[in-house]
Amino acid sequence: MSVLKVENLTKQFGGLVALSDFNVELEEGELVGLIGPNGSGKTTAFNVITGIYRPTGGRVTLRGKDITGLRSDQITAQGIARTFQNIRLFPQMTVLENVMVGHHLRLKTSPLVAGLGLPSYVRQERAMRDESLELLQITGLEDVAHEKAGSLPYGRQRRVEIARALATEPKMLLLDEPAAGMNPEETHGLMDFIQQILKDFGLTIFLIEHQMRLVMGICERLLVLNYGVTIAKGYPEEIQNDSMVISAYLGVSANVNN
């Protein structure tokens, strides 16, 4: 069974169709890329899948369960975590605290118990802290655990954001331009990192990216969006030679003189 199945997903803002009839199916353990020029609806697709926007039409199912139109926190609880194009960490909190926020939805206690500092809460807090520290170790962030998240360099903030998403124990991870603003060396490190967590956490990853190097390097399959419409689907080599894709990216018709 597919992990994520998106059928005819559509999002309209007034008269503007930001995303129309978007279809995608991701199998367990797959890493699929979503590309397209600026404003082509990639982030809109992510926002609709993760419940930040309500879809105008269509259906999203996660492991056979309909999650269309749920709130973003409910969708996260169902097992889809995400990162944002413009990093959205909690800058005033430490890296450890950021990751611990990701664990909050698994907390089994009432605010009363937490406010009274009862032993049953203290135990959970300690467990949460240990798990978070372990996660930081796996993601190579243990040295900055007690630093303010906002004070880290860009590349590491991206990693913290991914670690925080992993803390929600997702089945499926949506990464929105994880390599944005990174230099080639950082991008390379990130590629390895993504492939590592894909295996270690048994994830399925859907990723938006602008940097072709990264996309072509790690994605098994690709989807291309333009003006909200899916114009191509397939293996990286096929996409690279697709005339519709080339024209969308370069803005010229590929068959000018034919």
Partner: protein
């Protein structure tokens, strides 16, 4: 012994010393000073609750006055003697079961707090859907509605005639006891996972939602817990004033709470305590300014409200130099104090 244990012991010792001081003060301090100290405690309670909602959760509420009124009225109605009630309600008799009730202070206070929490829940349903300034306007309006309702519930609140002769239950121990419990509970809560969730909502609501935090529910948790303690503060206030009417709880009371918090530092519970202490004592210290002031041969005639002007100027100066209030977002800790005093050596940025 670890620094943590030492801190805990020091906290315990200072609490014991504080209780002994209160017991002594209750007997030996003059009523005027006692009253000021009680007022500080009540303001601490209100400031800490505002801090929970605004400083930690980022929701700007101006509804304090309305919620304080609920706590104050419930406590007053439950504790007043039937004979006293009969005297008060000369326009229309009081509603039946209420007119015969005379509870002792603690159950009345707890009931008041629970009812205020419930009203807070009702106020929260519409107002927590809004953000920032809009939430402030909605809560301000709802507090005003509570005041007008109090004004018109003649057979329950005695309307604009108010309630007189509320038993003076509020002592130093009651007020400071409540303040310490409020501080302890809210400080523990904001240090817990819930506190991190609140701060996540404050910093980035969208990202908090994407991290699986039920945003509305958590805003409501903060608001209802705050309302509970606001109600306690309100009940203590009623039993301190011994006379209340709906106009005690106009929006100015909400602004007073905001002022205390801004003065002390938004996001710092230590700041709330300092802010309340400075605000209340400054107001009292400036009292002579309202009267005539002789300067050499000339006498400036007394002008009621003059101290508000002076107070505002002092407040402005504080904000000019400490833009984020006296404490900013820092908290008092034994570690900080003993390091400052040179008793402990600086620990190299490691927690605990």
């Amino acid at each position: 012994m670890s620094k943590n244990t030492v801190s805990k012991i020091l906290t315990l010792i200072s609490l014991v010393v504080f209780v002994l001081f209160l017991l002594w003060a209750q007997q030996n301090l003059n009523p005027y000073l006692r009253r000021i100290m009680i007022l500080i405690a009540i303001n601490v309670i209100w400031a800490v609750t505002f801090n929970l909602v605004f400083g930690y959760t980022g929701q700007f509420s101006l509804g304090h006055a309305g919620l304080i009124a609920v706590g104050a009225y419930v406590t007053a109605i439950l504790t007043m003697a039937p004979a006293q009630k009969e005297q008060n309600f000369f326009l229309a008799p009081m509603m039946w079961p209420l007119s015969q009730m005379e509870w002792s202070f603690l159950p009345a206070l707890v009931t008041a707090a629970l009812l205020t929490a419930f009203v807070g829940f009702l106020v929260g349903i519409p107002s927590l859907q809004f953000r920032g300034d809009y939430m402030a306007i909605v809560t301000l309006g709802l507090a005003e509605i509570i005041r007008v309702v109090n004004m018109n519930l003649q057979t329950i609140t005695n309307g604009s005639l108010g309630l007189k002769g509320i038993p003076s239950h509020t002592t130093l121990l009651w007020s400071w006891g409540a303040a310490v419990i409020t501080i302890a509970f809210i400080a523990t809560l904001v240090k817990s996972s819930y506190g991190r969730a609140f701060m996540a909502i404050r910093d980035d609501e969208l990202a908090a939602g994407a991290m699986g935090i039920q945003v509305f529910r958590h805003k409501m948790i903060a608001f209802v817990i705050a309302s509970f303690f606001i109600g306690i503060g309100g009940g203590l206030y009623a039993c301190l004033l011994s006379t209340i009417d709906p106009n005690v709880f106009i929006f100015l009371l909400s602004y007073q709470v905001v002022t205390v918090v801004v003065l002390g530092g938004v996001g710092s519970i230590t700041g709330n305590v300092l802010g309340a202490a400075v605000y209340v004592s400054l107001f009292e210290l400036l009292r002579p300014i309202d009267g005539p002031i002789p300067i050499g041969p000339v006498t400036i005639p007394g002008q009621p409200g003059m101290r508000m002007v002076i107070f505002s100027i002092i407040f402005l100066i504080v904000i000019l130099f400490y833009r984020r209030g006296i404490m900013g977002t820092s908290e008092f800790s034994w570690n900080w104090l003993l390091t400052k005093l040179g008793i402990w050596r600086e620990s190299a940025g490691v927690q605990e």
